[in-house]
Symmetry: C2
Subunit: 127 residues, 2 copies
DNA sequence: CGGAATCCTTCCGGATACTG
DNA sequence: CAGTATCCGGAAGGATTCCG
């Protein structure tokens, strides 16, 4: 295919973003991933026990159906959350943490301890 | 002050968001706070040694001046980063971590270990 | 009950230009 | 050198409606 042409009309991108090693930082990527509005709250709630969809919806209080579904689906795709559909009528869907999800709770709780001691006062998670 | 009037032309907000206990979760708030595009990278870089402004600007490569300044100022306001102005000419500004900032690196590194083992392969931070 | 689809607003963050 | 000021596009996320 005409080899390495590097013509003036270059096909290469006009430097959209040089993230060659930006998101290569794993902990930065993880913070970005879980730093959205709801992911951490869902993980912490599911860390206690499994929850059904509407159970999460009421427990979090303020999340929209749209965002609850999106958050759960993304966490599932990341291998942190399990989704179990019970084919009853009406349907029942139960969410929980995977082994990886539970293993994440360990460093999370270390960070939580730091947050409680160093940041805002009166901190509870609503669990 | 005409007591609790609650007039029809109420001055109160139309329910902006019921975050009574949403951001009350300290670890969720911390993730939100550090889950932006640049904060973690800046913290990690400053964890190695102090840096001058343009030093950070070149090291991160992709951050705009606007966001670098904003990120540093917010981290400073949170008591995680120090800002030292040397009144030379041309001016020189040095950034570093506070004691609190360094203490944060401990639980961060635990999370970093988890991220390296469980998430994306080939992870380095560019330090 | 547990969503999906659509619309609409807010805000994060990049690009650019200028300054002490 | 170390910022500030302004403009602007895209992504995040809420509200509402409809569906199996």
């Amino acid at each position: 295919m005409s080899a390495t042409h590097t013509s003036v009309l270059a096909t290469e991108l006009p430097r959209p973003v040089p993230q060659t090693e930006l998101d290569a930082c794993p902990v930065s990527a993880l913070f970005r991933r879980l730093g959205d509005r709801w992911s951490m709250l869902v993980i912490i709630l599911l860390g206690g026990r499994t929850h059904r969809y509407n159970e999460l919806h009421r427990a979090i209080e303020g999340i929209s159906q749209r965002m609850l579904t999106r958050t759960l689906r993304t966490l599932e795709a990341d291998g942190l959350v399990t989704r179990t559909v019970h084919p009853t009528v009406p349907p029942s869907v139960e969410y929980g943490l995977t082994d990886r999800g539970r293993s994440l709770l360990v460093p999370i709780s270390a960070l939580a301890d730091w947050a409680v001691e160093n940041q805002n006062p009166s901190g509870r998670c609503g669990t």
